[in-house]
Amino acid sequence: MRRTYTPAPALSVLETLRWAWRQLTSMRTALILLFLLAVASIPGSVIPQTGVDPSAVFAFRESSPELARWYDRLGLFHVYSSVWFSAVYVLLMVSLVGCFIPRARQYWRSFRAEPPNAPRNLDRLPVHREWTAVDSGAVVAERAHRVLRDRRYRVRRYVDDRGDQVVAAENGHLREAGNLVFHLSLLVVLFGVAYGSLFGFKGGALVVEGEGFSNTLTQYDEFEPGAWFDPASLDPFTFTVDDFAVTFETAGDQRGAPRSFQADVSYVEAPGAPAQQYDLRVNHPLQIDGTSVFLVGHGYAPEVTVRDGNGDVAFRGPVPFLPQDSSYTSLGVIKAPDAAPQQLGFEGFFLPTVAFDEQRGPYSAFPDALAPGLVLTAYHGDLQMDGQPQSVFVLDKERLRQFEQQGGEPFRILLRPGKTVQLPDGRGSISFDGLSRAVRLQVSSTPAKVVPLVGVLAAIAGLVASLFVRPRRAWVRVGRRDGDTVVQAAGLDRVAGGDLVGAVDDIVTAIRPRSRDMEHA
C-alpha cells in the first residue's frame, strides 16, 4: 500500500544554488579548504616530482613499477598541477571571491557612512570619563572636534534631542581595508604565477668549456615550455663559455664541499650586436631581455680519441659525463658511429680523483680533478643511431656485444690522461687526451614575475593592517547641568586587546585645559 506523505517543499534550482554558494563561501568551508590545501601539499614533498627532480621519478619508476602505475593514475608525480590539487585551490579562490564581494560592498557602505550617534548613556561604555568644564559648551565641543580630528578620527558634530553638543568619532577603517587588500592580493599572486608559468619556459643545457650555445630549441638538452609558450619568442642571443673555474674545500669536516664556481662567458644579445663579457656565478645570473641564464652545476667532459680497427679516427672530442655524487663520480657514454668495420661504444665512469677500495674497486675520493681517470667497458656492433633520436648518456645495447677478456669477464678499461688502451682482437683503441669542464646551465623566462612580487608585498601590508589596526569609536558629549558645563567622554573598541583606557585618557587630557585649577573635577 502506498503511504501518503507531504513532501518537504523542494528547493528550486535557484535556491539550491544559493544554498550551495552560501555553504561554499562560509568561513567554515574556507577553513576546511585551507586544511585540505595543507594536507594536499604533503605528498609532493614525499613522492618525487617530475617538475622538481625528474631523475628521482625515473629511478622510482624503475624500482617500483606497480606503485608507479598507481601514482600515475592519481597524478602523484605532478601533485601541484594535478586535478585534485587544482580543485582545492580553485575552490578556495572561489570561496575567497564569494567572501570578498559582499565584504567589499559592506566596506564601501561603512566607508561612506558617518560616525554613528552617541549611545544615550555614555557611562555604560567600557571606558567613560566625566568632568565639569569652565568653558562654554561650544568651546569644549570645538576643542574636542579638533583633538579627535588631530588623532586621525573621522568626526561628526551634532546637537542631540536633549540639546547637548555631541562629537562622534570613528577610526580604524584600515583594518577592514587591509583585510580586503590581503585577500585581493592573493588573487593577484595566483594570476601572476599562472601567467608566468603559461607563457614562460625553463630549459637546461650542458655546455663544455670553450663551446657555445645559441638560444634555439635544438640546443637544449631538456626544455619545458609553458602551455601557451611560443618558441618563436625565444630571444636570439648566443654565448660562449670561455673559461670555468671551481674550487673545493681541501681540509676539515667540509672537505670536498664546493667553495666557488665561476664561468666567464662572452655573449651576443642579438645577431650583429657587439660581444659582451659576463662572469656567471651562482646567485649571479646573466639577464638578457626577459631571459635569465643560471649556472646551476658543473661536470667533467673528458676529451677522448677513438680509433677503429683500421687505425682511423672514428671519434675525437670532449664528452660530457653526468655527476652522480658529491665526489663527482660521473656517468657517461662515448659513441663512435663512424668506426669500421663495426661501430664502437663505451660506457662507464669518469672519476676526478681515482682511489681504490677492496670492496668498491675504483672510486672517486675528491670532486676536483686531482688524479682523473676513466673506468669503462666497451661494446661493438650497431649503436642504432639511425632511428629515433637517442640520449647522449645512454647506450642502446640491443645490438651491441660487450668486449670480453679471456674467461668471459667483461673487458675493463682504466684510462689515465695521455694514455691509450688497445681493444681486444685489434678492433681499435681509445685515448684519454685531456680534460675539459662542462657547465650545467638553466635558461628560463618567467614573464610578469613582478606581478606576484607586488601581490605578496601588498598582501603583507594588508595583513599587517588587518591585524594591528584597531577600529575605535569615541564620543564627547557637552551639556549644561545645573548651570555647569558637564563633559562626558567615552570610547568603544570594536576589537579586543587595545589600550582603550590609554586612548580615552589621552583624548580627555587634550580636551581639558592644562591648568587644572580652572576645573572642578
Binding site: S45, F261, N283, T446, I460, V501
Partner: protein, 338 residues
C-alpha cells in the same frame, strides 16, 4: 681575518665555549623555574583564584587586564605570603639566569659569525643555535611587553634541549667554515633572519597556546577548592590566549615576508621563484596552517581550543620543515651535510 688579538680559530673556540656555557645557564634557569612550579604546588593562592574567577565573568571589552592581579605571576613582592615569596623568588632567579644565558648565547652566535667570517647561517648547527636564540629573544620581548614569566619553564626546557642536541649530536655539530656558493648572497641574511625571528615568535606562540589549552581545561574541570599549584598562578586562560594571538599576529606577516625573501633569492639562485622543493612546500604548508589559525579565531565555534590546536599544528609543521626535511628529504635546501 686577523684582528691582532684573536684570530678566526680563537673565535671558533670562544663561540663553542659560549654555547656550552649558555646551555648550562639555560639548564640552571630551567631548574629555577622547575623549583618555581614545584614550590607553587603548596600554595593555595586564593588571591589568584579570585583573580581568575573575575576573568570568567563576562568581561567588558578593553577592561583592565587581570594579569597584574595580586597573587598572579609577577605581583608586587610586599603583598605576598612567605610561601608565595619563595615561588616568586625562584621565578625571578629563573628570569635573571635566562637573561644571562641569552647574552652568552648571543656571544656564541656573534663569535661564530666572526670565526666563519660571514653570517652564521650556513648549516643545521647554525640554524639551530640561531633559532634557539630567536626563541629566547621572542620570550624576553614578550616578558617585557606582556609579563609572560609563566612561559619561563617551557621556554628554558625547549632552548636547553635544542642547544644540547645541536652541541652533542656529531651529525649536526660542524666547526665554523666558509659557505657553499649557493649561499653567497645577501638574501641569506634577509631570508634567514626573517625566518628565524618568525620561528622564535611561532615557538612562543605555540607554548602560549599549549598553556592556554592546559589552563582552560583546568578551569573547566577543577573545583575552586582544589585550585592550587602553578597553573593557578598563571593569568586566566583568556589572557593567555590573548598573548598567544598577539605573538602569532606578529609572526605570521614576518613568516610571509621570510617566504617572499626566499622566493626572490630562489629567483636569483635557481632561476625560479617557486619550485615546490620540499622546503618550499613545507614553508607553504606552515603558512596555510597559520592562515587557518587566523581564520579560526574569526569563526564561530573555532575560537579557543580549536584555534590553539591549529597553532600547535602550525608550529609542528614549522619544526618538521626545519628538522625533518633536512634529514629525510633531499632538495635544493640540503647544504653542508645536514
Amino acid at each position: 681575518m686577523n684582528t691582532g688579538l684573536v684570530d678566526a680559530g680563537q673565535f671558533g673556540y670562544i663561540s663553542d665555549t659560549a654555547f656550552v656555557f649558555a646551555t648550562v645557564v639555560y639548564a640552571l634557569a630551567m631548574t629555577a623555574h622547575i623549583a618555581e612550579w614545584a614550590s607553587a604546588r603548596r600554595v593555595a593562592a586564593p588571591a589568584a583564584i579570585r583573580a581568575q574567577e573575575r576573568v570568567r565573568e563576562p568581561e567588558p571589552v578593553g577592561a583592565g587586564s587581570p594579569a597584574g592581579a595580586a597573587g598572579a605571576v609577577g605581583a608586587p613582592v610586599d603583598e605576598l605570603s612567605d610561601e608565595e615569596l619563595g615561588t616568586e623568588r625562584y621565578g625571578r632567579v629563573g628570569v635573571s639566569l635566562t637573561v644571562l644565558a641569552f647574552l652568552t648565547h648571543l656571544v656564541g652566535v656573534g663569535a661564530r659569525a666572526l670565526a666563519a667570517e660571514r653570517a652564521p647561517w650556513g648549516n643545521m648547527f647554525e640554524f639551530a643555535t640561531t633559532g634557539a636564540l630567536a626563541v629566547t629573544a621572542a620570550y624576553l620581548v614578550a616578558l617585557r611587553l606582556y609579563r609572560t614569566r609563566w612561559l619561563g619553564l617551557l621556554v628554558t626546557v625547549f632552548v636547553t634541549i635544542v642547544l644540547g642536541i645541536a652541541m652533542l649530536t656529531p651529525a649536526i655539530y660542524v666547526a665554523p667554515g666558509p659557505l657553499v656558493p649557493a649561499l653567497h648572497s645577501y638574501w641569506l641574511v634577509i631570508h634567514v633572519a626573517a625566518a628565524a625571528l618568525a620561528g622564535g615568535a611561532f615557538c612562543i606562540g605555540a607554548l602560549s597556546s599549549l598553556l592556554y589549552l592546559l589552563k582552560s581545561r583546568a578551569e573547566r574541570r577543577t573545583a575552586v577548592e582544589d585550585r592550587r599549584g602553578y597553573l593557578w598562578r598563571l593569568p586566566g586562560s583568556a589572557e593567555v590566549d590573548r598573548v598567544a594571538y598577539k605573538v602569532h599576529a606578529f609572526a605570521v606577516p614576518l613568516w610571509t615576508f621570510a617566504v617572499l625573501a626566499g622566493a626572490i633569492w630562489a629567483e636569483y639562485a635557481w632561476g625560479r621563484y617557486w619550485g615546490w622543493d620540499p622546503k618550499e612546500t613545507w614553508a607553504f604548508i606552515t603558512w596555510v596552517v597559520y592562515a587557518a589559525y587566523l581564520h579560526a579565531r574569526a569563526t564561530a565555534g573555532w575560537q579557543g581550543r580549536n584555534a590553539a590546536i591549529i597553532a600547535l599544528v602550525g608550529f609542528a609543521t614549522f619544526l618538521f620543515n626545519f628538522v625533518g626535511i633536512n634529514l629525510f628529504a633531499s632538495g635544493l635546501h640540503s647544504y653542508a651535510g645536514v
